[in-house]
């Protein structure tokens, strides 16, 4: 069984979920995809927006979350780290 997710794992899962949906996702979908409760999700979303990793956009009367270039760069780094962990058994 996988252990408890760290803060970085949760952020990684959120950003990956946005990417998996083509870089644009509805907040409710993101909540389900990243296995978060509403309260947690709001906290993380605000944090990610503040750090310029994602942004909220309005399109056809709905609110969407999109990933920024900085967010994409972080995803790339996190994938690299995961591979590094696998390779060197950390």
């Amino acid at each position: 069984m996988a252990g408890k997710r760290t803060r970085t794992d949760i952020i990684g899962d959120m950003l990956e979920s946005v990417l998996a949906k083509g870089g644009k996702i509805k907040p409710t979908h993101l909540m389900y995809k990243s296995n978060l409760a509403h309260g947690q999700m709001t906290t993380y979303l605000n944090d990610l927006i503040e750090k310029d990793l994602i942004k909220k956009v309005k399109s056809s009367n709905s609110e969407y979350i999109t990933i920024t270039d900085k967010g994409c760069e972080l995803v790339r780094k996190l994938r690299e780290i995961k591979e590094f962990e696998n390779a060197f058994g950390l």
């Binding site: 760290t6 790339r76 994938r79 690299e80 591979e83 390779a87 060197f88 058994g89 950390l90």
Partner: protein, 236 residues
């Protein structure tokens, strides 16, 4: 009297190049590991980087010693008096012996920290292990076989650890890392045999170089994997 020169004459200087390559590989991986620590805040990355930095420092000491020894030998050889060579090295023997002991201790310590990163243990156990390494370096010195044997044992344990992880998760890069450490372990066997013939030193150095190059390839694969998925993302 400690034997200071294992290398055959034609190999002088070439082992220095091999060690420089090893240092570059170690520092490169350590640098990235520190960067990853900044993102993940997982101390294992820091210990991993520390072990690689210590190993790189030990190689640096070895290089400085070898350059010094080879320089003195070449310098006196030009005079054509072999006994002067012996005295030249012996005259600063104290410094050489201390450097050798430091090189041996740092190498085994680097491998031990690397091994400890994989095996969760208390701080007390870690310090006990370090103390025992220090004592073994101090008392086993000047028998170089004890040093290479210790490195061999730790490297075998690291290889076994990686192999187990590979069997469990089947990641290609884990297999490559296990192979790299396995090759490094193999090089230690040839270093142990160096007293029988100088060519074993050359074989050991070459195998060690192959080990570090495969470690570099492992690391390049890690980076490539991250970039590959990054390219996939750009296709959406």
């Amino acid at each position: 009297m400690v034997k200071l020169i294992y290398s055959p004459q034609w190999f002088y200087g070439k082992d220095v190049i091999i060690d420089i390559v090893s240092i570059c590989v170690l520092l490169l991986i350590a640098f990235f590991s520190i960067n990853y620590y900044r993102i993940k805040k997982n101390r294992n990355y820091l210990y991993f980087a520390l072990s690689f930095i210590i190993l790189a420092s030990s190689f640096l000491i070895k290089i400085l010693m070898n350059i010094n020894i080879y320089y003195k030998i070449i310098e006196t050889k030009q005079l054509g008096i072999i006994t002067v060579v012996y005295q030249s090295v012996k005259s600063s023997g104290g410094l050489f012996y201390t450097s050798f002991a430091l090189y041996w201790f740092l190498t085994t310590l680097g491998f031990y920290i690397l091994y400890s990163t994989y095996q969760k243990q208390s701080m007390q156990s870690f310090f006990l292990g370090t103390y025992l390494l220090f004592i073994s370096t101090y008392f086993a010195y000047p028998d170089y076989r004890a040093f290479y044997l210790t490195s061999l044992v730790i490297l075998i344990l690291i290889t076994i650890n990686h192999s187990r992880k590979y069997i469990k998760k089947r990641h290609f890069t884990t297999k490559l890392a296990a192979l790299s450490f396995g090759i490094m372990a193999m090089s230690q066997i040839f270093f142990i045999l160096v007293d029988a013939a100088n060519r074993f030193y050359v074989i050991g150095e070459v195998i060690q170089l192959i080990g570090y190059i495969s470690l570099l390839i492992t690391f390049i694969m890690v980076l490539k994997h991250g970039r590959k998925e990054d390219e996939d993302r750009h296709n959406w």
